[in-house]
C-alpha cells in the first residue's frame, strides 16, 4: 500500500483520531476510544466472515474471550510479558479456529449460524468449569503485574496504544483481503458457493482460512483488553450479546465495506457511552439499537456506507 492509495490516508486519519487522547493527555477520552477500538476490531474481523464470505458468525466473541483467557493465563501463570502473551494468544486462537472451522463450515446458512451460537455456549460453560482458568470466578491479575510496564498509569497507556495498533492492523487486513485474489474467492463463495466450487475455488480451505484469519486479531485484542481490566470471567469473556452487537454495528455501517465496519462500530460506541449512566436509557439503548437494526435490514441493507456509496458513487473509490 502506498500513499497514493486513498485508503492509506483513511487509515492515517483514523489513527490520528485515536492519538488525540495521547496528545491531550485526556484519560476519559482514552477510555471511550479504547472501547471504540475494541468494537472496530471485532466488527472488522467479523466482516471477513459476514461481509466477504456470507457466513453469519454469532460466535465471533469466542475468539476475543479465548484470546483474553490465554493471554491472561500466560501473564499470570507463565510470567510472560504482555506483548508476547498477546501474540501467542493470537496464534493459538488462529490455530484453534482453523481446526474448528474445517468442522463447522461444512454447515451452511442458518445451520452454521446456529452452530456458532452453540460453540459460544459450550465454550463458556466449559471455561466456567475449568479450574486452571479459575472456573466461574475467572482469572485475576495481581496489581503488581502493571509494574512491568512502569506502573498502572503507564500500563494503561501502553495497552491503549497496542490496541490502536491492533485496530490499525484489523483495518489493513480487511483492506488487503478485499483487494486480493483470496478476497475475490471469498466473494465468489458469498455469491454462490456451489458455482464457486465448480469454477475451481477450494471452498472448504478458503472458508476455514477466512474463519481462522478473523480470529487472530480479536484474540490479541482480548488479551490486551482483559489485561487492562485485570480480571476475566466466563460471562464477560463469552458474552453472546456483545457478539450480536458486533453484527448490529457491522450492519449499521455497511457489511462488506472496510470503512463501513469501522464507522458503524465507532458510532455505536459513542451512542452507547451517552446512555451508559442511566438505567432507563441503557434499556432504551436496546430498544433503539433494535429499531435501528430493523430499519437498516429492511430498508437499507447496505448500511450507512451502502447509502453513501449510492448517493455519491465516487466515494466508492475513496472509502472502501
Amino acid at each position: 500500500m502506498s500513499p497514493k492509495k486513498p485508503f492509506f490516508w483513511v487509515l492515517v486519519a483514523v489513527i490520528a483520531v485515536f492519538l488525540v487522547p495521547v496528545l491531550t493527555n485526556n484519560v476519559s477520552l482514552r477510555e471511550s476510544l479504547l472501547l471504540a477500538a475494541i468494537y472496530i476490531i471485532l466488527t472488522s474481523n467479523l466482516n471477513l466472515m459476514i461481509g466477504f464470505t456470507g457466513y453469519v458468525n454469532f460466535g465471533n466473541i469466542v475468539f476475543f474471550g479465548l484470546g483474553g483467557y490465554i493471554g491472561l493465563y500466560l501473564v499470570t501463570a507463565g510470567g510472560l510479558p504482555l506483548v508476547a502473551a498477546a501474540a501467542l494468544a493470537g496464534a493459538a486462537v488462529g490455530a484453534i479456529a482453523l481446526v474448528l472451522g474445517l468442522g463447522i463450515l461444512r454447515l451452511r446458512g442458518a445451520y452454521f449460524a446456529l452452530a456458532t451460537i452453540g460453540i459460544v455456549e459450550a465454550i463458556q460453560a466449559f471455561v466456567a468449569n475449568f479450574e486452571p482458568w479459575g472456573g466461574a470466578t475467572g482469572l485475576y491479575l495481581s496489581f503488581q503485574a502493571y509494574q512491568a510496564l512502569g506502573g498502572p498509569r503507564e500500563a494503561l497507556w501502553t495497552v491503549y496504544l497496542l490496541l490502536v495498533a491492533v485496530m490499525g492492523l484489523s483495518l489493513f487486513l480487511c483492506y488487503a483481503v478485499k483487494n486480493s485474489r483470496f478476497g475475490l474467492a471469498l466473494f465468489a463463495i458469498r455469491e454462490d458457493e456451489d458455482t464457486a466450487a465448480v469454477l475451481g475455488v477450494r471452498t472448504p480451505l478458503y472458508k476455514a482460512t477466512a474463519y481462522s484469519l478473523s480470529g487472530i486479531l480479536p484474540a490479541m485484542a482480548g488479551a490486551l483488553f482483559f489485561f487492562k481490566q485485570g480480571v476475566i470471567q466466563p460471562e464477560q469473556a463469552f458474552d453472546l450479546t456483545l457478539s450480536t452487537e458486533a453484527i448490529v454495528m457491522l450492519m449499521l455501517g455497511g457489511q462488506g465495506t472496510v470503512t463501513g465496519a469501522a464507522l458503524g462500530a465507532f458510532l455505536y460506541e459513542q451512542f452507547r457511552g451517552i446512555l451508559l449512566t442511566s438505567t432507563v436509557f441503557s434499556s432504551f439503548q436496546l430498544v433503539i439499537a433494535g429499531a435501528l437494526l430493523l430499519v437498516t435490514v429492511l430498508f437499507m441493507p447496505g448500511g450507512l456506507m451502502g447509502w453513501l456509496h449510492r448517493r455519491w458513487p465516487r466515494l466508492r473509490k475513496v472509502l472502501e
Binding site: W9, Y140, T279
Partner: protein, 406 residues
C-alpha cells in the same frame, strides 16, 4: 471532483468534537464519594440495604455540619450509578466516577465479585476504597494499597454454623451446596477445612451456577446423600430460591444455614420455607457495642427504622459503618490527601456501633478486616410471626437454637 483529503480532515475534526467530553464544574467544600449499587439484576435485594446505610450516614453527617478536615468542613455528596449486578459495567462506571465525577473517595459495590473488579480500577488510579458487602479474602491479597474491608473475611462465614450444629448433633451428615462465585467459593474452601478440623462429616460438596433457578437436581442429590444438614448458598436471589425449593421438595433436613439471603428482612416473605433457617450475619440490631465514635447500636437502629420503616440488615449496618470509618480517618488526617487518609485508616483501631474495626496492614493482606467478628441469626416462629434471633455465639445469643428444622 471531490478532494478526499479535505473531507477527511473535516471528518476528523467532527469526530474529535464528538468525542471530547465536557468536564463538570467542581463545587467548593464538597466531599464526593462515588460507588455503584445494584438497583437491578440478581443482587438488587442485597444491595439496597447497603445503599440505605450509606445514605443514612450522609444525611446525619451533613445535618451535623459535615466532615471536618483541618479548618474546613465538607458536605458529603454521594454519586452513584446502577451497575445492574454486572462486572463489566462496574469497571466502566468506576472509571467514570474517578475521571468524570472527580470522586474523592470510593465505596465498593455490593458482592465480592463486583468489588474485586472495582478494586482493580481504584488501585489503577490510586483511590481509597472502603469495601463493604465484599468479604472474599483474595482481593486483598493481590498487593493493594488503598482497600479497606468492613466485613469479617469470607473464611469465617460458616464456621460458626458448624460449631452450633456440633452442639446438637456431632454426627450430622452435612451437605454443602454453594454458588459458583468468588464469595461463596471462598467460604466453601474455608468451611471444608474447618469441618475436617472439628471432625464433622461433609457427605456432599458441590457448586452450582449463581444464576441457577432449578435446584431440583441438586436437592435430589442432597437427599440421595442422606444429609441431615445443608449449608451453603450465595446471595439473595439463589439463596431464597434454594430455601424455597428445599421446602417444596420436603427434603428431610434438620438444619439449614445459608449465606446472605436469610439475613435480609425480605426472607421472611418465604413464610414456612424460612422458618428456622439460619444465616451468618455481620451484625444484628440486638448488638450491645459501646462506641468510641458515632451512634450506639440502638440509636442507629432507631434512626434506620425512622428513615426506611424496616429493620436494618447487616448490609445496611456495614454501609453506615463504612461511612463512619472513612469520616473518622479523614478527621484524624485533617486533609483529603489519599496517602495521609490511608495512613490513618491503617492505624484505625476503634469500636463503633457495628463492633470493633481494625485492618491488617502487612503487604500480603493489606486492608483485610482484623477486628470484627460475626454472629448467627435464625428465623424463629414466635406467636405466628417470624422473628430473627441471634443464636450464636452463645454469649451474645437472644434465643437458643431451634433444632431440628421442622
Amino acid at each position: 471532483m471531490i478532494k478526499p483529503h479535505r473531507w477527511i480532515i473535516a471528518g476528523v475534526m467532527a469526530a474529535v468534537w464528538l468525542v471530547v467530553p465536557v468536564s463538570p464544574v467542581a463545587a467548593a467544600d464538597v466531599l464526593t464519594i462515588g460507588f455503584t449499587n445494584s438497583e437491578t439484576g440478581a443482587l438488587n435485594v442485597d444491595s439496597i440495604g447497603q445503599l440505605n446505610g450509606f445514605k443514612l450516614w450522609r444525611d446525619q453527617v451533613n445535618a451535623n455540619g459535615g466532615v471536618h478536615a483541618g479548618s474546613k468542613s465538607y458536605q458529603v455528596n454521594l454519586v452513584t450509578y446502577d451497575d445492574q449486578s454486572k462486572p463489566d459495567r462496574v469497571q466502566q462506571l468506576y472509571g467514570r466516577l474517578i475521571l468524570q465525577d472527580n470522586a474523592d473517595f470510593l465505596f465498593s459495590p455490593y458482592s465480592s465479585g463486583l468489588t474485586a473488579t472495582a478494586a482493580i480500577i481504584s488501585e489503577q488510579y490510586g483511590k481509597i476504597m472502603i469495601t463493604t458487602g465484599a468479604s472474599e479474602d483474595k482481593t486483598y491479597q493481590l498487593g493493594n494499597k488503598y482497600l479497606y474491608e468492613m466485613y469479617t473475611p469470607a473464611s469465617a462465614y460458616l464456621t460458626g454454623a458448624l460449631d452450633a450444629l456440633k452442639t446438637v448433633n456431632p454426627k450430622a451428615r452435612i451437605a454443602m451446596a454453594y454458588a459458583d462465585d468468588a464469595f461463596a467459593k471462598a467460604v466453601a474452601t474455608a468451611t471444608r477445612v474447618y469441618a475436617k478440623a472439628i471432625g464433622m462429616d461433609l457427605v456432599f460438596d458441590e457448586a452450582y451456577a449463581p444464576n441457577t433457578t432449578d435446584f431440583g437436581p441438586l436437592i435430589n442429590k442432597i437427599i440421595s446423600a442422606k444429609a441431615d444438614a445443608l449449608i451453603g448458598g450465595g446471595h439473595y436471589a439463589d439463596g431464597a430460591t434454594l430455601a424455597r425449593q428445599v421446602y417444596d421438595h420436603k427434603a428431610p433436613l434438620d438444619f439449614v444455614s445459608l449465606l446472605v439471603a436469610p439475613d435480609s428482612p425480605k426472607f421472611a416473605t418465604l413464610g414456612e420455607a424460612a422458618t428456622n433457617v439460619t444465616a451468618p450475619s455481620q451484625w444484628a440490631p440486638q448488638a450491645t457495642f459501646k462506641p468510641d465514635f458515632g451512634p450506639d447500636p440502638k440509636a442507629f437502629g432507631d434512626a434506620y427504622r425512622t428513615a426506611y420503616g424496616s429493620e436494618p440488615s447487616y448490609h445496611a449496618a456495614g454501609g453506615y459503618a463504612a461511612g463512619l470509618i472513612l469520616q473518622h480517618a479523614i478527621e484524624q488526617a485533617g486533609t483529603l490527601d489519599q496517602d495521609q487518609v490511608a495512613a490513618k485508616l491503617d492505624q484505625t483501631n476503634i469500636e463503633i456501633f457495628y463492633g470493633h474495626v481494625q485492618f491488617f496492614t502487612d503487604p500480603g493482606r493489606h486492608g483485610l478486616q482484623a477486628g470484627h467478628s460475626m454472629v448467627i441469626v435464625q428465623w424463629q416462629k414466635k406467636g405466628g410471626q417470624l422473628v430473627k434471633e441471634v443464636i450464636w455465639p452463645k454469649a451474645g445469643a437472644t434465643a437458643p437454637l431451634a433444632y431440628p428444622l421442622r
